[in-house]
Symmetry: C2
Subunit: 123 residues, 2 copies
DNA sequence: CGGTATCCAAGTCGATACTG
DNA sequence: CAGTATCGACTTGGATACCG
Protein backbone atom coordinates (compact mmCIF):
# COMPACT_ATOMS: atom_id res chain seq x y z
CA UNK A 1 0.00 0.00 0.00
CA UNK A 2 1.32 3.36 -0.85
CA UNK A 3 1.58 6.15 1.60
CA UNK A 4 -2.09 6.97 1.99
CA UNK A 5 -3.40 8.24 5.27
CA UNK A 6 -7.05 7.41 5.79
CA UNK A 7 -8.14 11.02 5.66
CA UNK A 8 -6.78 11.46 2.18
CA UNK A 9 -9.22 9.00 0.72
CA UNK A 10 -11.92 11.65 0.72
CA UNK A 11 -10.19 13.29 -2.21
CA UNK A 12 -9.56 10.07 -4.13
CA UNK A 13 -9.79 10.70 -7.84
CA UNK A 14 -9.87 7.33 -9.52
CA UNK A 15 -11.48 7.19 -12.90
CA UNK A 16 -12.63 3.64 -12.31
CA UNK A 17 -15.40 4.90 -10.10
CA UNK A 18 -16.29 1.82 -8.15
CA UNK A 19 -12.78 0.63 -7.47
CA UNK A 20 -11.86 3.31 -4.99
CA UNK A 21 -14.08 2.30 -2.03
CA UNK A 22 -12.78 -1.25 -2.45
CA UNK A 23 -9.18 -0.18 -2.16
CA UNK A 24 -10.07 1.99 0.79
CA UNK A 25 -11.78 -0.87 2.63
CA UNK A 26 -9.02 -3.35 1.90
CA UNK A 27 -6.55 -0.83 3.22
CA UNK A 28 -8.45 -0.31 6.45
CA UNK A 29 -8.84 -4.02 7.19
CA UNK A 30 -5.75 -5.30 5.43
CA UNK A 31 -3.23 -5.20 8.26
CA UNK A 32 -1.72 -8.54 9.12
CA UNK A 33 -3.59 -8.91 12.42
CA UNK A 34 -6.69 -6.83 11.83
CA UNK A 35 -8.82 -9.79 10.80
CA UNK A 36 -8.05 -11.61 14.04
CA UNK A 37 -8.58 -8.49 16.11
CA UNK A 38 -11.92 -7.78 14.48
CA UNK A 39 -13.14 -11.33 14.84
CA UNK A 40 -12.27 -11.28 18.54
CA UNK A 41 -14.01 -7.96 19.10
CA UNK A 42 -17.03 -9.16 17.15
CA UNK A 43 -17.60 -11.68 19.94
CA UNK A 44 -17.31 -9.22 22.80
CA UNK A 45 -15.43 -6.11 23.92
CA UNK A 46 -12.00 -7.01 25.20
CA UNK A 47 -9.17 -5.64 27.30
CA UNK A 48 -5.75 -5.05 25.78
CA UNK A 49 -4.00 -7.84 27.60
CA UNK A 50 -6.78 -10.32 26.96
CA UNK A 51 -6.30 -9.66 23.26
CA UNK A 52 -2.57 -10.23 23.55
CA UNK A 53 -3.23 -13.59 25.13
CA UNK A 54 -5.70 -14.55 22.40
CA UNK A 55 -3.29 -13.62 19.61
CA UNK A 56 -0.13 -15.63 20.16
CA UNK A 57 2.83 -14.28 18.26
CA UNK A 58 1.84 -10.61 18.17
CA UNK A 59 4.15 -8.11 19.83
CA UNK A 60 3.00 -5.26 22.03
CA UNK A 61 4.15 -2.71 19.53
CA UNK A 62 2.27 -4.26 16.64
CA UNK A 63 -0.94 -4.84 18.60
CA UNK A 64 -0.93 -1.23 19.70
CA UNK A 65 -0.24 -0.03 16.15
CA UNK A 66 -3.06 -2.05 14.64
CA UNK A 67 -5.47 -0.93 17.36
CA UNK A 68 -4.51 2.70 16.73
CA UNK A 69 -5.13 2.28 13.02
CA UNK A 70 -8.56 0.79 13.61
CA UNK A 71 -9.36 3.52 16.12
CA UNK A 72 -8.29 6.30 13.77
CA UNK A 73 -10.37 4.79 11.01
CA UNK A 74 -13.43 4.74 13.26
CA UNK A 75 -13.74 0.95 13.43
CA UNK A 76 -13.13 0.53 17.15
CA UNK A 77 -13.10 2.68 20.27
CA UNK A 78 -11.12 2.54 23.50
CA UNK A 79 -12.18 3.23 27.05
CA UNK A 80 -9.80 3.46 29.99
CA UNK A 81 -10.82 2.30 33.46
CA UNK A 82 -9.95 4.18 36.63
CA UNK A 83 -8.14 1.21 38.13
CA UNK A 84 -4.50 1.35 39.05
CA UNK A 85 -2.86 0.22 36.97
CA UNK A 86 -5.44 1.25 34.42
CA UNK A 87 -6.96 -1.15 31.92
CA UNK A 88 -8.15 -0.32 28.42
CA UNK A 89 -11.26 -1.82 26.92
CA UNK A 90 -11.62 -2.01 23.15
CA UNK A 91 -14.93 -2.48 21.34
CA UNK A 92 -16.42 -2.14 17.87
CA UNK A 93 -18.16 1.02 16.70
CA UNK A 94 -21.32 0.80 14.59
CA UNK A 95 -19.09 1.10 11.54
CA UNK A 96 -17.05 -1.84 12.76
CA UNK A 97 -20.16 -3.92 13.47
CA UNK A 98 -21.31 -3.29 9.92
CA UNK A 99 -18.20 -5.01 8.66
CA UNK A 100 -18.63 -8.17 10.72
CA UNK A 101 -20.94 -9.95 8.23
CA UNK A 102 -18.40 -9.26 5.49
CA UNK A 103 -15.69 -10.69 7.71
CA UNK A 104 -17.74 -13.85 8.08
CA UNK A 105 -18.11 -14.16 4.31
CA UNK A 106 -14.40 -13.69 3.94
CA UNK A 107 -13.78 -16.42 6.48
CA UNK A 108 -16.19 -18.74 4.67
CA UNK A 109 -14.52 -18.07 1.34
CA UNK A 110 -11.10 -18.69 2.89
CA UNK A 111 -12.19 -22.03 4.30
CA UNK A 112 -13.62 -23.10 0.96
CA UNK A 113 -10.34 -22.06 -0.64
CA UNK A 114 -8.33 -24.17 1.79
CA UNK A 115 -10.54 -27.17 1.06
CA UNK A 116 -9.99 -26.85 -2.68
CA UNK A 117 -6.24 -26.50 -2.25
CA UNK A 118 -6.12 -29.61 -0.10
CA UNK A 119 -8.11 -31.56 -2.68
CA UNK A 120 -5.45 -30.60 -5.20
CA UNK A 121 -2.67 -31.90 -2.98
CA UNK A 122 -4.31 -35.27 -2.50
CA UNK A 123 -4.87 -35.85 -6.21
CA UNK B 1 2.47 -9.11 5.24
CA UNK B 2 5.26 -11.35 6.26
CA UNK B 3 6.95 -13.61 3.83
CA UNK B 4 4.16 -16.09 3.25
CA UNK B 5 3.86 -17.82 -0.06
CA UNK B 6 0.31 -18.85 -0.80
CA UNK B 7 1.12 -22.53 -0.70
CA UNK B 8 2.32 -22.33 2.86
CA UNK B 9 -1.11 -21.44 4.17
CA UNK B 10 -2.11 -25.06 4.05
CA UNK B 11 0.11 -25.67 7.04
CA UNK B 12 -1.04 -22.60 8.95
CA UNK B 13 -1.08 -23.31 12.66
CA UNK B 14 -2.86 -20.44 14.33
CA UNK B 15 -4.44 -21.15 17.66
CA UNK B 16 -7.22 -18.67 16.99
CA UNK B 17 -8.85 -21.16 14.68
CA UNK B 18 -11.14 -18.93 12.67
CA UNK B 19 -8.68 -16.13 12.11
CA UNK B 20 -6.46 -17.96 9.68
CA UNK B 21 -8.76 -18.14 6.64
CA UNK B 22 -9.44 -14.43 7.07
CA UNK B 23 -5.79 -13.55 6.96
CA UNK B 24 -5.34 -15.84 3.99
CA UNK B 25 -8.18 -14.21 2.04
CA UNK B 26 -7.08 -10.69 2.88
CA UNK B 27 -3.62 -11.62 1.68
CA UNK B 28 -4.87 -12.98 -1.64
CA UNK B 29 -7.04 -9.95 -2.42
CA UNK B 30 -5.08 -7.31 -0.54
CA UNK B 31 -2.70 -6.12 -3.25
CA UNK B 32 -3.03 -2.49 -4.10
CA UNK B 33 -4.74 -3.02 -7.47
CA UNK B 34 -6.41 -6.39 -7.00
CA UNK B 35 -9.76 -4.92 -6.08
CA UNK B 36 -9.87 -2.91 -9.29
CA UNK B 37 -8.70 -5.85 -11.37
CA UNK B 38 -11.30 -8.15 -9.88
CA UNK B 39 -14.11 -5.69 -10.30
CA UNK B 40 -13.18 -5.24 -13.97
CA UNK B 41 -13.00 -8.99 -14.58
CA UNK B 42 -16.30 -9.48 -12.77
CA UNK B 43 -17.94 -7.54 -15.60
CA UNK B 44 -16.34 -9.49 -18.44
CA UNK B 45 -13.11 -11.23 -19.44
CA UNK B 46 -10.56 -8.69 -20.58
CA UNK B 47 -7.35 -8.44 -22.57
CA UNK B 48 -4.15 -7.26 -20.91
CA UNK B 49 -3.96 -3.94 -22.65
CA UNK B 50 -7.64 -3.20 -22.14
CA UNK B 51 -7.03 -3.58 -18.42
CA UNK B 52 -4.08 -1.22 -18.56
CA UNK B 53 -6.27 1.39 -20.19
CA UNK B 54 -8.99 0.94 -17.56
CA UNK B 55 -6.56 1.30 -14.66
CA UNK B 56 -4.81 4.64 -15.09
CA UNK B 57 -1.67 4.94 -13.04
CA UNK B 58 -0.68 1.27 -12.98
CA UNK B 59 2.64 0.30 -14.54
CA UNK B 60 3.16 -2.71 -16.77
CA UNK B 61 5.34 -4.40 -14.22
CA UNK B 62 2.83 -4.04 -11.42
CA UNK B 63 -0.16 -5.10 -13.50
CA UNK B 64 1.70 -8.21 -14.59
CA UNK B 65 2.76 -8.96 -11.02
CA UNK B 66 -0.75 -8.66 -9.64
CA UNK B 67 -2.16 -10.79 -12.45
CA UNK B 68 0.46 -13.46 -11.75
CA UNK B 69 -0.44 -13.45 -8.06
CA UNK B 70 -4.12 -13.88 -8.81
CA UNK B 71 -3.34 -16.59 -11.32
CA UNK B 72 -1.11 -18.51 -8.91
CA UNK B 73 -3.79 -18.28 -6.23
CA UNK B 74 -6.36 -19.74 -8.62
CA UNK B 75 -8.53 -16.60 -8.82
CA UNK B 76 -8.06 -15.89 -12.54
CA UNK B 77 -6.82 -17.70 -15.63
CA UNK B 78 -5.05 -16.54 -18.80
CA UNK B 79 -5.47 -17.61 -22.36
CA UNK B 80 -3.20 -16.59 -25.21
CA UNK B 81 -4.53 -16.03 -28.72
CA UNK B 82 -2.72 -17.20 -31.83
CA UNK B 83 -2.61 -13.69 -33.28
CA UNK B 84 0.63 -11.96 -34.08
CA UNK B 85 1.40 -10.19 -31.93
CA UNK B 86 -0.39 -12.43 -29.46
CA UNK B 87 -3.02 -11.16 -27.06
CA UNK B 88 -3.75 -12.50 -23.60
CA UNK B 89 -7.25 -12.79 -22.22
CA UNK B 90 -7.80 -12.86 -18.47
CA UNK B 91 -10.95 -14.12 -16.81
CA UNK B 92 -12.22 -15.22 -13.40
CA UNK B 93 -12.20 -18.84 -12.27
CA UNK B 94 -15.11 -20.26 -10.30
CA UNK B 95 -13.14 -19.46 -7.15
CA UNK B 96 -12.81 -15.88 -8.32
CA UNK B 97 -16.51 -15.63 -9.18
CA UNK B 98 -17.33 -16.79 -5.67
CA UNK B 99 -15.56 -13.77 -4.30
CA UNK B 100 -17.44 -11.22 -6.40
CA UNK B 101 -20.42 -10.86 -4.02
CA UNK B 102 -18.00 -10.22 -1.17
CA UNK B 103 -16.27 -7.61 -3.30
CA UNK B 104 -19.62 -5.89 -3.79
CA UNK B 105 -20.25 -5.85 -0.02
CA UNK B 106 -16.81 -4.41 0.48
CA UNK B 107 -17.56 -1.71 -2.06
CA UNK B 108 -20.88 -0.92 -0.37
CA UNK B 109 -19.23 -0.69 3.03
CA UNK B 110 -16.52 1.57 1.61
CA UNK B 111 -19.08 3.92 0.12
CA UNK B 112 -20.99 4.10 3.39
CA UNK B 113 -17.70 4.83 5.14
CA UNK B 114 -16.91 7.68 2.76
CA UNK B 115 -20.35 9.17 3.36
CA UNK B 116 -19.86 9.14 7.12
CA UNK B 117 -16.43 10.69 6.85
CA UNK B 118 -17.78 13.49 4.66
CA UNK B 119 -20.56 14.17 7.15
CA UNK B 120 -17.88 14.61 9.78
CA UNK B 121 -16.01 17.14 7.68
CA UNK B 122 -19.07 19.28 7.10
CA UNK B 123 -19.99 19.46 10.79
C1' DC C 1 1.30 -7.00 -27.55
C1' DG C 2 2.65 -8.55 -23.41
C1' DG C 3 5.82 -8.96 -21.05
C1' DT C 4 11.31 -8.86 -18.14
C1' DA C 5 15.27 -6.66 -15.85
C1' DT C 6 17.11 -3.41 -12.84
C1' DC C 7 17.17 -0.46 -9.27
C1' DC C 8 15.14 2.26 -5.80
C1' DA C 9 11.53 4.19 -2.34
C1' DA C 10 8.10 3.33 0.89
C1' DG C 11 5.51 0.65 3.84
C1' DT C 12 5.04 -2.83 7.28
C1' DC C 13 6.36 -5.99 10.63
C1' DG C 14 9.23 -7.68 14.37
C1' DA C 15 12.60 -7.94 18.49
C1' DT C 16 14.09 -5.67 22.24
C1' DA C 17 14.38 -2.40 25.80
C1' DC C 18 12.35 1.09 28.53
C1' DT C 19 8.28 4.02 30.99
C1' DG C 20 4.15 6.38 33.57
C1' DC D 1 -1.15 -2.55 32.55
C1' DA D 2 -0.62 -0.46 28.48
C1' DG D 3 1.96 1.49 26.24
C1' DT D 4 6.58 4.29 23.50
C1' DA D 5 11.37 4.35 21.34
C1' DT D 6 14.71 2.54 18.42
C1' DC D 7 16.48 -0.08 14.86
C1' DG D 8 16.69 -3.57 11.51
C1' DA D 9 14.59 -6.88 7.99
C1' DC D 10 11.56 -7.89 4.56
C1' DT D 11 7.79 -6.95 1.32
C1' DT D 12 5.51 -4.17 -1.88
C1' DG D 13 5.07 -0.86 -5.26
C1' DG D 14 6.99 2.33 -8.82
C1' DA D 15 10.07 4.43 -12.78
C1' DT D 16 12.48 3.32 -16.54
C1' DA D 17 14.46 0.72 -20.16
C1' DC D 18 14.62 -3.20 -23.03
C1' DC D 19 12.89 -7.85 -25.50
C1' DG D 20 10.50 -11.82 -28.33
Amino acid sequence: MSGFKSDQYGTCTFTVKQACPIELTMHIFGGKWKGIILSLLSQSPMYYNAMRREIPGISQRILTLQLRDLENDGIIEREETNDNPKKVLYYLTALGEDFVPILKSIETWGNAYLCKKNEHKRS
